[in-house]
Structure formats: structure tokens, C-alpha cells
Amino acid sequence: MIALTDISKSFRSGRGRIDALTDVSMDVPAGDFAAIMGKSGSGKSTLLNCIGGLEKPDRGAIRCFETVVNRLAARPLSLFQRRHLGFVFQRGNLLAYLTVAENIGLPLTLNKVTGAERTCRIEALLEGIGLSEAARALPHELSGGETQRVSVARALAHRPRLLLADEPTANLDTDSGRQVVALMRRLSTESGSTIIMATHDRDILNDVDRIIHLKDGTLAKEAS
């Protein structure tokens, strides 16, 4: 279970104080695929970053599988992220100097999954995303859709308990977007992961279990 209680987060900028999140509370049951919907600037990415420990909320508590993420010190937080979380970013964010296979293998090595098991998992994931032949390709040799598929594979390689995806289809056409979401769904089902995805694209919501609407940093409504 992912439980958020009264999460607030504000930023200071040249335009003054911006309240990105105000008293957001929500629960996502383990194994669910939840989508956070909202316009640009509604606080979706900030919420996702707070859940994943990339950002610290000003107030409130984020409980991920019995761990209060926002109260972890730097090193325990890193180790928690390494073991239990997977991220898919809007731009893929693959490491440019690592091949597709090396990118997918990175979280495995960080989690000390080595040898035959590591090789096996990478091959399976490559096959799962339909990019076996691109194992040795560098990220700049991939299309946008392929990059996001690799990004999903990398995020799920170490079988995290929670996958956080921030606008993973923003730069893709509708078909590619749907494929990526379907892939996330399939792979996370195989690994038993919970997914929370931020998006403003209604066309890709067929696969999700619940939709959480954010407006101006506050929870608007939740639909199942």
C-alpha cells in the first residue's frame, strides 16, 4: 500500500511562492495501476517525485510499503529507491554512454544481481520489449518509442515494488504511447509491481485501475 497523508509542497521562484501540492492525501493499493491526471502545472510530477523520494514534501507523510519515505536519511533513501522503486521519465533518460543491455543491467548490478541470472533477466526483458536485436545499440540509435520501452525495462529489471512513471508517453504518438503503457502493465504484472503514472493523455487510460485527478496541487477526485 502506498499511503499519502496531507502532502504539501511549495517552491520559491522569481514569481514568488508556488504551492505545487496542498494537503494531498490518497492511497494506492499494492499491485494497482494508478494514473494521476491533470493539466500541465497541476503538480503531477511533484507528487510523483515526492512519492519516489526525489523531492521532499514540506509537510505530510508518504508511506511506501511500511516505510515513511520522506523521513529517510540520504543513504537509507538511496538504498530504498535502489531496491524498491523504478522510474520511467518523460524523456526516457537512458544513460547515453551505455548500450541498451547495459542500461537495463544497471539496476540489476546495483542490486547485486549478477552472472547468469542477470544475463537471463536482461535477455528476457529485451525479448519482452521486442528489442533483442538492439541489445548493443546506444540510446541515440533508438526511436522515441524504443527509448521508452528500454526505459520501462530498466525500471522494472530489478522487480521493484513500485514503478513511478512521469508522463512516459508525452513525446510519443498515440500507438507508441499505448504500447508503452501496455508494456508497463504487462511487465509490472509479471513482477508484481504497483504502478503510479502521471499523465495528461486520456487515450492511454484503458489499462489503468484507478485515476486520480489533480488540479492546482489539490486532489480533485478519484475514479476507479
Binding site: 523531492e55 543513504r75 529507491q81 522510474f87 533518460n93 551505455l98 543491467g105 546495483l110
Partner: protein, 391 residues
């Protein structure tokens, strides 16, 4: 990538450097050039010092003077490791007279062939030639020749004790060294023509480049009788010693300034190099890479690149020094023709020393690692979301 330990981070750093070819190459060229230039500059500084020493002690005196040597010790006994040549000399104080004038001076008996081979005094002969063995010939300074009003072929008489018959010498050569110690009160004749042959002799010891007199003096003190007197060029020529020290300090200031400028350039380049790849650190941080691991990764990248670039810079610097030294050195005669410390030759041969080899790579490595501290701290202190937002 089979391990989560040091090897894993070294491999990641290596892949980054190899596959970020252009950035790595651009920064490497800077490090390579800086290290090579600094090695050459440091070697040139040593070369200037060598040239001044070679010009001054190589003209006649030698690096060490061993006087009051008993006859049972030969020049061969003094040729130990580090010694290039030993010249046998005998000195007789007396009076040189001619054309109604008598001047006190010291007559130095030399082996003309050996002197000619080892010292550069022959190059300072302005008229005539070196005296020859078996002939009663004398080499005098231009100042003495003017005082006596003599020319090549004229005769002068030397008396080593009052009332003695003395010996007659024909002027075979006239020199002008520019050094007061040589141009006043000294004249040269063949050893076998020196009157009153005393068995005690003096050795002028010439050392190989880079050998310090102290080490040879220590060996001589253990080997020679206590009655023998040892003096190094540092004692004989305190003015040269001071000048070399002054030159060394000036060169050190120049080198430190150049090192400083190069080091700041390197540091700035490394900061840009690391900040340019900040997104990578944000991604890794989001994947749960700890601050310690991130710092290790940054340091490993800097060190690997530096080691490779310093290696190449070292090779190029050494090659440049050896090439210049073997191709005749750097001739600065136009700027030294009236400088008595470059009395023989204005050619500088850069020479490598341990300092010139280790200091430039060490400076590069230290400053690059220091430059990596700020980006590493930036990565450590910022949250992954902030880093990803920065780019």
C-alpha cells in the same frame, strides 16, 4: 558489469570516457598539452642552470678543486662514479717579467691536450694557440699581454723565487675569458716545463650533468688523506651560486605561475565537463546510487582521464625534451654574448629531472580532483529532482 564494487564503477567511468569520445578527447588534449608543456618548461629551467654551470666551471675551474694532492695519488684515483674528467695541474707563485715590467702571478702547469679536450679555455684564445708539451711556451691573458706589451712569439721570464735564474717562456697564445679570476694573475704553461717540479699537485674535477658536488666530496673525504684540501665550485664561486639560486627562484615563480594558470584552466574544464553531464548523476541518483558511490564515480572518471592524458603528455614532453637536447639545444647566444656566465656557449640543453617528470602530472591530477569536489558536492547535496530540473 558483473560486480557492484570498485570494478563496476571503474567500468562505468571507462565506458563513459570511451563513449563520450569528443568531450573526452577535447579535455584530454588540454591535459596532454599542459603536462607536456610543463615538463618541457621544467626541463628548460634545469637546462639554464646546467648551461650557466657548464659555462663557468667548464671554462677552466671544474666542479671540484682537490689541492695539495701527494705524488702517489694519480688522476685515475679520483675518477669515481659521477666524475666525467680529472685534470692534473700544478701551481707556482712567482714573478713574470718582460720589457722592464715585473708582475706577480701564479703560473699554472697543465696538460694542454687534456685541457683542450675537457675545458673551454681554448675557445677563449683570441690570438695564437695552446702551449704544447715539451716546449717552453706560455698562455697569457690579453690583460697581461697589454701590460707587458707582448705579442705571439715574444718572450717572458718567470721567476718562482727571488734571485733565482728563472725560466724563459715564449708567448704561444693570448686569451680573454671575461672572468676576473682567470684574466688577472694567472698564466699557463705545459706541466713538463713548470720550474721546480714539486710532487704536490692540484686536480680539477669535472662532474657529469646532474651530479651534485656534495656526493663526490663525501667520497673523496673518505678516500683521500686529511692533508688534501677540497673545494667545490659553490665555495669558489659564491657569485655563481647566488645567481643560480636567483635564477632557480625566478624560474620557480614562473613555473608556479604557469602551473597555476594551467591548473585553473584544467579545474574549470573539469567542472564544465562534470556539470555538462549532470543529468546522468540525476538519473543515477533516482536509481538509488548513493552519494559515496556518485563521488567515487566522479573521482574515478577524473582520475582515469587524467592518468591516460598525463601518460600521453609525459611521453610527448619527454620526447620534446630529448629531441631538442639531441638536435643541438636552444641557442640563446644573441642574448648572452656579453654575459660572463655564458662565456663559452649560449646553447641551452633542456634536461629531465625527477621533479620535471612527476610534478606536472601530479599538479594536473591534484587540481582535477580538487575541481571535481564542487560538482561532487553539488550532486551530493541536490535532490535528484532538482538535478533533473537543472538541465
Amino acid at each position: 558489469m558483473t560486480s557492484g564494487g570498485v570494478g563496476f564503477w571503474v567500468r562505468i567511468a571507462l565506458l563513459f570516457l570511451l563513449r563520450s569520445g569528443r568531450s573526452t578527447a577535447a579535455l584530454s588534449v588540454m591535459v596532454v598539452t599542459a603536462v607536456a608543456a610543463l615538463i618541457f618548461l621544467a626541463a628548460l629551467s634545469v637546462g639554464v642552470k646546467d648551461a650557466m654551470l657548464r659555462n663557468t666551471v667548464g671554462l677552466f675551474a671544474g666542479h671540484i678543486t682537490v689541492s695539495n694532492l701527494p705524488g702517489n695519488i694519480s688522476p685515475a684515483n679520483l675518477r669515481i662514479a659521477g666524475v666525467k674528467a680529472v685534470l692534473q695541474r700544478r701551481y707556482r707563485p712567482g714573478v713574470l717579467s718582460g720589457d722592464g715590467l715585473a708582475l706577480p702571478l701564479t703560473l699554472c702547469g697543465i696538460d694542454p691536450a687534456r685541457e683542450s679536450a675537457v675545458t673551454a679555455l681554448e675557445k677563449k684564445i683570441t690570438a695564437g694557440r695552446y702551449p704544447q708539451n715539451g716546449r717552453a711556451e706560455i698562455l697569457i691573458s690579453r690583460e697581461l699581454a697589454r701590460s707587458f706589451g707582448v705579442h705571439i712569439g715574444d718572450d717572458l721570464r718567470f721567476q718562482d723565487r727571488p734571485g733565482g735564474a728563472g725560466s724563459s717562456f715564449r708567448v704561444a697564445g693570448i686569451y680573454q675569458s671575461g672572468l676576473e679570476a682567470l684574466d688577472r694573475g694567472l698564466a699557463f704553461c705545459p706541466l713538463d716545463r713548470l720550474p721546480d717540479k714539486d710532487t704536490a699537485w692540484t686536480a680539477a674535477v669535472f662532474l657529469k650533468d646532474g651530479v651534485v658536488p656534495a656526493a663526490i666530496l663525501k667520497a673523496y673525504r673518505q678516500q683521500l688523506p686529511a692533508t688534501v684540501r677540497l673545494t667545490s665550485w659553490e665555495d669558489q664561486m659564491p657569485d655563481l651560486r647566488q645567481l643560480i639560486d636567483l635564477e632557480a627562484i625566478s624560474m620557480a615563480v614562473v613555473i608556479v605561475l604557469v602551473f597555476g594558470v594551467v591548473a585553473i584552466g584544467l579545474a574549470c574544464s573539469f567542472v564544465i565537463f562534470i556539470i555538462r553531464n549532470m543529468r546522468e548523476y540525476g538519473i543515477l541518483k533516482a536509481m538509488g546510487v548513493t552519494t559515496a558511490e556518485m563521488t567515487r564515480l566522479i573521482a574515478t572518471k577524473v582520475m582515469l582521464m587524467n592518468l591516460a592524458a598525463c601518460g600521453a603528455g609525459l611521453l610527448i614532453g619527454v620526447a620534446a625534451v630529448l629531441a631538442v637536447a639531441r638536435l643541438g639545444g636552444i641557442d640563446i647566444s644573441a642574448f648572452t654574448s656579453h654575459n660572463r656566465y655564458f662565456a663559452v656557449s649560449g646553447v641551452i640543453y633542456p634536461r629531465l629531472t625527477a621533479f620535471s617528470l612527476w610534478a606536472p602530472p601530479a599538479v594536473s591530477l591534484v587540481f582535477s580532483l580538487a575541481a571535481a569536489v564542487w560538482p561532487a558536492l553539488l550532486v551530493a547535496r541536490k535532490r535528484a529532482a532538482d538535478i533533473l530540473r537543472m538541465i
